[in-house]
Symmetry: C2
Subunit: 245 residues, 2 copies
């Protein structure tokens, strides 16, 4: 690996300038504002030049989506590392970090967690690959979740009902994250869809008819969901929301 030549330096600089421009357009005008011509215009270039770096606008958007997944994951990991060793507290802060990122970056959240945009479709289609950015984000949540459920009574339907209804359909989860007891797998999926539903409804503006401060509902849901995990240990205080802003 020798030192990068001049052309290589210029190329990577231009590449990140393209990505930055795309991100800026995404933030200010939503996904439909991201156009090759606008990116190039902001850079003082012409649109066809971008084809030296991306084969199409869709590919550019797909690359952007991958970066956003990683950014969100790092945010969530930082929240986990910034709280104590208690998995419940870790999950609490991780969920808050996810919501905070989503609310603070609605266009970015929409791109990776909303309707599949043309460029992101194939990207999302292969998300049962463990190396897929989306799968890696899920894994960050799964680890403390499994630890939390260890020794807790899970508020699930009876195991035989789970096995009968769900037993044969969890192969993708096992492929991407390893085998899990069915109660834990179901509880995780349930919690994940609840988290998604709440955050997505807020970001997409589908909660305005119900609450004027979605964060209150979010916090209540978090508490409610965590409360269900330790019904047999009354002496165990629930982590009270730490530093907020």
């Amino acid at each position: 690996m020798t030192a990068p030549t001049r052309r290589e330096r210029l190329r990577t600089a231009t590449l990140s300038e393209i990505k930055d421009g795309a991100r800026r357009l995404l933030v200010t005008g939503g996904i439909e504002a991201v156009s090759l011509r606008a990116i190039a215009r902001d850079m003082g270039m012409t649109a066809p030049a971008i084809y030296r770096y991306f084969p199409s606008l869709e590919a550019l958007v797909a690359g952007l989506a991958g970066d956003l997944y990683d950014e969100l994951r790092q945010e969530v990991e930082a929240a986990r590392d910034g709280s104590g060793p208690d998995p419940a507290g870790q999950l609490l802060e991780m969920c808050r970090a996810l919501r905070r990122w989503a609310v603070g970056h609605p266009a970015e959240f929409t791109l990776i967690f909303g309707n599949p945009v043309p460029g992101v479709i194939e990207f999302a289609d292969q998300c049962d690959n463990p190396d897929h950015p989306g799968a890696r984000l899920g894994a960050v949540f799964l680890t403390p979740f499994v630890e939390l459920t260890r020794g807790s009574r899970l508020p699930t339907p009876p195991a035989e009902l789970l096995q009968e209804r769900l037993g044969g359909h969890l192969a993708p989860l096992a492929t991407s994250h390893g085998p899990l007891p069915i109660e834990i797998a179901y509880t995780f999926l349930s919690a994940w869809t609840r988290l998604y539903g709440l955050v997505a409804m807020e970001v997409f503006g589908h909660l305005g008819w119900a609450v004027d401060e979605p964060e209150a509902l979010f916090e209540t849901e978090l508490i409610s969901q965590l409360l269900q995990f330790r019904p047999a240990e009354p002496g165990d205080a629930l982590p009270e929301g730490g530093a907020r802003h």
Copy 2:
């Protein structure tokens, strides 16, 4: 109210032909395939003619979204009316009807429940109006839900915690659907976001990493959620999923 004149008949026919064309384009190519020029082309017209019926493409899309809300609501109402008087059974079939419609009409579901598309934004912004199609859909679920909770023990956090966290932020819900006890309001919102999260993740392709048959997870969630409502009445059999297809 006299008989419609010839021009009026022609006008309403053209109007519904425009809407049908927009719907067809939405189904076959997603929202970005809906263009005035394509609609007009399919009708053997030119694009500017559509401006005699809609002030812009966005308005046309907003009108389409309103129709879709009503269509989904009628579907859900039919499911309710087709099941017995038991509110739990009604809700079960209504949730199934919602998912069935969403999975069967992914582009339509995406339009009204996904990221706000430009034309649908202002449309969604005023959904705390009780006459808004979205609010009317919610009301259809709320009625049997309230009946179900009557006399059931709700699996919520303590009422004082709810009041403290959520009490001051439910004004929009009270405006659009009338005042509710806070436990019922919270439980309804929680159930609604769970339903939304599950269906949206399936339709948007965000569950592929976990399950190969999202309906199994959906049914499990429904059962699990309904089970929580009647923990004190063991003699009461749970409705077993009726006709499916």
